[in-house]
């Protein structure tokens, strides 16, 4: 058993206890009177220990409870208010004994100024155990080897500190400043590979671990004006990403991987540091008590000038190997302009109107330079690709009270997106897509106890002609797929919801959603996305038998399906001939995702001193992959289903030893059953001795029990 209640946890817990003692000293000796308990802010502290019975991968992935052992449990809320000045002091700590601890401090006289300081940790433990001989994990220098294999669980941790200050200036003005610094450290699953058929000497896959050591800083400063009619704020938002690792330098794993040859996969460039600076103004004006306009304009300048990775040993900046641009960094610059206008009005007591216009222009002004050489028949021109993107959206909605509580809602949305692209491409592109959606909805407050609505939404997406993909020398490439986010699409959606309170203590809620997508393929080839559908059924019930007994239950079923097809090695032409079409070797895939989830909960006050509660959640996800050979294809067999099943039972009991103190018992029993082939047969290998043989696995059944016992104390 591993002792997880480390010194840090206990130090923080001890600090929390000391702080609570300091702030409660004047009331600990005597119990607060009833009125004080009713009207004064309540402070509390909870201290205890918890135990996890066995190591687990998924239950504790983000909870910081991934290992078996004993953990410290500590929460604190110190809330003090000086009633004479309205000055608040709030100290809030959560999970102080765990790796996901949070601590927040707020201080200041309400309505005048406020200072806040937050600290938060977000851990992530990989759900997989990796058996590998890889050396240097956590650093930029890795050595691939098959010897000395051991189990590793990769993990990352974010530590975030935020400092905020705000000040009221007179009756209408205020200023606010916020600074956030987030450090992210750890390692994550990575790899390199070069694909060819089995037996080909170039078919290698190496497991790698990407070292994470980065800092995200964000600053926001704004000044605001607000009166009952007019509000305006303007400010600056800056952000900076700094990656303290620049590249992965790999040895071992095959000479061809690391040398100066055509398949060199070392060094591997890691994400470059970058920054952005935004200036913005937004505001709103009430023309009348029933008519308002709001707006926002923003300009962002984002840059990326991180130094390029160094050449591998022996590689020169020549036309065939190195960087031929003469640049040492990209000089990346993207300017983004946003303009938003919203309008809402109630011209008649029964009629509400709202509309909005939104325009966003991401203008990639990075210099376009040739970085690598290419051949006349190459399918790229060797330059960097800029990615500009512009979207213009308009929305309008009318909401009219027809009669007898019926409301009729009608809406229209229009969305135009423009994108740029390079002259030489391998993926199909159209400059513009345009989508129009309309909706009609009928809502009714049938009575004080029942409400319902039914909505129908229909949309159609079209666009400009697809551009022809060309090779560098101007000969056509392949032109058969309409990418899913660019393809013509018809979408229909229907949504029903009902709330019913048949008796005061019982409320029921039902939702049904059904949507269907139909895609048009290029030249009616039937390749790419074909259609999709999504269904959701959900039912909720809450029963409050008395102030001492309540139950809730819910169930959800969702079913998402899509159908798509592709082909082997389509001919490189602008338009396929009839003979070429009939010669296409086509296979299709029906992808199905089904989820069933239920939840049950009960809260029971057994006596003045004893509260108990329990809840149970169960969910099952099933993914199905139905492959079908359609023409000239063999071997398109459906893949096995992937299933995840989770059942979690939680129980708590709280016994009050006195009005402001007691003990709490928490029990969590979590069971997961995993049937997933993603990694089960995969071995990082090669046909040569350079294979590293790394495997990635997870336990098929994971059962975890957590028991916690803590004491709490409240004061006012």
């Amino acid at each position: 058993m591993k002792m997880r209640a480390d010194k840090t946890a206990f130090r923080i817990a001890a600090l929390a206890a000391a702080v609570s003692a300091a702030f409660s000293s004047n009331v600990m000796a005597e119990e607060a009177d009833e009125m004080t308990r009713l009207i004064k802010p309540e402070s509390s502290v909870r201290l205890g220990i918890g135990s996890v019975d066995k190591g687990n991968a998924r239950f504790g992935q983000y909870l910081g409870l991934q290992d078996s052992g004993v953990y410290g449990l500590a929460d604190i809320d110190v809330v003090r208010r000086d009633d004479a000045t309205g000055t608040w002091f709030k100290l809030r700590g959560r999970n102080l004994g765990l790796d996901r601890r949070e601590l927040g401090l707020v201080y200041g006289p309400q309505g005048d100024w406020k200072l806040s300081l937050d600290y938060r940790e977000i851990p992530r433990y990989s759900q997989y155990t990796i058996n590998t001989g890889l050396q240097g994990i956590g650093s930029e220098n890795l050595r691939v080897q098959s010897a000395n294999k051991r189990d590793k669980v990769l993990e990352t941790k974010r530590e975030k500190v935020s400092l905020g200050f705000q000040k009221s200036i007179g009756d209408n003005w205020s200023a606010r400043f916020r600074f956030t610094n987030e450090e992210k450290d750890g390692t994550r699953l990575f790899a390199r590979g070069t694909s060819s058929g089995v037996g080909n000497a170039n078919r290698w896959f190496n497991f790698l671990a990407e070292p994470i050591d980065s800092t995200i800083t964000q600053w926001e400063a704004l000044i605001s004006y607000a009166d009952p009619r007019f509000q305006l704020q303007g400010g600056y938002y800056g952000s900076h990403y700094s990656n303290h690792n620049t590249s992965l330098n790999i040895t071992g794993g095959g000479v061809g991987f690391n040398g100066a040859g055509a398949n060199t996969l070392s060094p591997i460039a890691l994400a470059p540091s970058n920054e952005a600076h935004q200036f913005f103004v937004d505001g709103g004006y009430n023309f009348t008590p029933t008519t308002r306009a709001s707006f926002k304009v923003a300009y962002t300048n984002a840059t990326q000038t991180d130094a390029f990775v160094a050449n591998p040993p022996g590689v020169l900046n020549t036309a065939t190997t190195g960087n031929i641009s003469g640049r040492t960094n990209l000089g990346g610059r993207v300017e983004t302009t946003l303009a938003y206008l919203g309008l809402s009005s109630r011209p008649l007591p029964k009629l509400s109107l709202l509309g909005s216009l939104r325009y966003e222009d991401r203008d990639d002004k990075t210099p376009v330079v040739r970085y690598i050489s290419t051949t006349p028949t190459g399918n790229h021109d060797g330059t960097n690709e800029t990615r500009s993107f512009r979207t213009s959206q308009g929305k309008f909605e009318a909401n009219y009270l027809v009669a007898n509580g019926y409301r009729l809602v009608a809406g229209l949305d229009h969305d135009v997106k423009d994108r740029d692209t390079s002259d030489v491409r391998v993926v199909s592109h159209r400059d513009t897509t345009e989508e129009t959606a309309w909706k009609i909805e009928l809502r009714r407050a049938m009575s004080e106890t029942a409400n319902g609505s039914i909505a129908y939404v229909s949309s159609e997406r079209t666009g400009s002609d697809f551009k022809v993909n060309y090779r560098f020398n101007g000969t056509p490439g392949r032109n058969v797929i309409a990418p899913i986010h660019l393809a013509d699409r018809d979408r229909e959606k229907i949504r029903l919801s009902a709330d019913w309170t048949p008796i005061e203590s019982l409320s029921l809620q039902a939702n049904i959603e059904d949507s269907r997508d139909s895609y048009s393929s290029r030249a009616d080839l039937g390749l790419g996305a074909r259609r999709g559908s999504s269904k959701l059924y959900s039912l909720d019930a809450t029963y409050n038998a008395s102030s001492a007994l309540s139950f809730n239950a819910w169930a959800t079923h969702s079913d998402t399906q899509s159908k798509q097809a592709t082909a082997f090695n389509a001919p490189e032409v602008v338009t396929l001939t009839a003979a070429q079409i009939s010669a296409l070797n086509i296979w299709s895939a029906g992808l199905i995702n089904k989820t069933d989830a239920v939840g049950l909960g009960a809260d029971l006050k057994l006596s003045e001193k004893l509260d108990v509660g329990a809840d149970f959640e169960f969910s099952e996800d099933r993914a199905e992959y139905r492959l079908r050979p359609e023409r000239g294809v063999t071997g398109a067999a459906s893949l096995p289903d992937i299933k995840y099943r989770t059942a979690t039972f939680r129980l708590f009991g709280r016994y009050a030893l006195r009005k402001n103190a007691g003990i709490q018992l928490d029990l969590v029993h979590d069971r997961r059953v995993i049937d997933d082939w993603t990694w089960s047969t995969w071995v990082y290998n090669s046909p040569t001795a350079a294979g590293d043989g790394t495997t990635v696995g997870q336990d098929r059944t994971q059962t975890t029990t957590f028991v916690g016992l803590s004491g709490y104390y409240k004061w006012w």
Binding site: R58, S325, G635
Partner: protein, 321 residues
């Protein structure tokens, strides 16, 4: 045998009983004579007229608002009972010609007869601006939601403002998201370390889907800034909208992918040398399994969001180094 009270204790008990009787009589007299204004405010400026009835023994107790910023009397802008509920003269002094006491001028909750826009305006009178600048043109306002649908004004703990409980409040309407966060690949939403408001501004936004920043990508960059680039080679959908490939609420495929490679990649990529290969889990005696098992296409194309490697020695053009 029970001891008799001593002389001093007897006098004290008598004095306490007398004080209680006197205090009770005075309170009764004050109420009956309509002199509520002479009562002492308890939690808000001018609340005596309300708290004379709405104490903890009444069906609608209100004293707990004293624990909140709205119950901070030193802040003259903190509001009063009537600044939210209206002057409500007939509720305070029931007219003699009606049998039931009329409701306050502005009422909240499911059974309220106050138009929703009026209910929300009671809050917006002070809270318009800032993060709520675009409330009226946002989808929650359009769906006839009131502030009190999500917020508890009278209690110290407002569940929607507590990171541990906020998702449950949102899930009371957003059922699909409730199911998705249970999937094996998810943001730690149920674990309480990432919450809905980290990505969405439910009070209205200049971005789509109530994004906290101005667009989907700018919102995702606040935590995933390494994806921002720009890069020498940038994967086009990465700059447009992360949700083309990812479902941020949950997926049963690692890394929140909407579909498993190669199917996800085949939705866009032309079938060239290997892109159209059939998905297969046969290992290792199959030439195409490396597009399906493990990370699928990403077994080789590891730098899928973009690469900043300028060298011409290893297919950085295809996001491999």
């Amino acid at each position: 045998m029970r001891k008799k009270p001593s002389g001093i204790r007897k006098w004290m008990l008598a004095a306490l009983a007398g004080a209680a009787l006197l205090g009770g009589a005075q309170a009764w007299a004050a109420t009956e004579s309509g002199e509520a204004s002479k009562r002492k405010d308890v939690v808000q400026v001018g609340d005596a007229v309300c708290t004379r009835c709405h104490d903890e023994g009444e069906a609608k107790p209100i004293l707990s608002i004293g624990k909140t910023p709205h119950g901070t009397m030193a802040d003259k802008k903190a509001g009063t009972c009537t600044s939210c509920h209206g002057a409500s003269p007939t509720h305070i002094n029931k007219p003699s010609d009606v049998t039931e006491r009329p409701e306050p001028g502005i009422n909240f909750g499911k059974s309220s007869s106050t138009p929703i826009a009026e209910r929300n305006q009671a809050c917006l009178n002070c809270h318009q601006g800032g993060a709520r600048m675009h409330w009226q043109s946002g989808p929650h306002a359009a769906a006839d939601m009131e502030c009190a649908s999500c917020h508890r004004i009278h209690s110290q703990e407002d569940p929607v403002r507590d990171r541990a409980t906020q998702p449950e409040v949102c899930f009371s309407c957003h059922k699909e998201q409730r199911a998705l966060v249970n999937r094996q690949s998810h943001h730690p939403i149920k674990e309480g370390t990432v919450i809905c408001a980290d990505c969405h501004n439910p009070h209205g936004s200049a971005g789509p889907k109530l994004m906290a920043r101005d667009s989907v990508v700018q919102t995702c960059y606040t935590c995933h800034m390494e994806k921002r680039g720009p890069f020498i080679r940038t994967h086009q959908p990465v700059t447009e909208d992360c949700t083309i490939c990812h479902n941020p609420h949950g997926s049963n495929i690692d890394n929140l992918l909407k579909s498993r490679p190669p199917f996800l990649c085949q939705q866009c990529h032309e079938p060239s040398t290997h892109q159209g290969n059939i998905a297969s889990t046969t290992f290792p005696a199959n030439t195409t399994n490396n597009n399906t098992l493990a990370r699928g296409c990403l077994n080789c194309h590891t730098q899928i969001h973009g690469t900043n490697n300028p060298l011409n020695v290893g297919n950085e053009r295809t996001f491999r180094r």
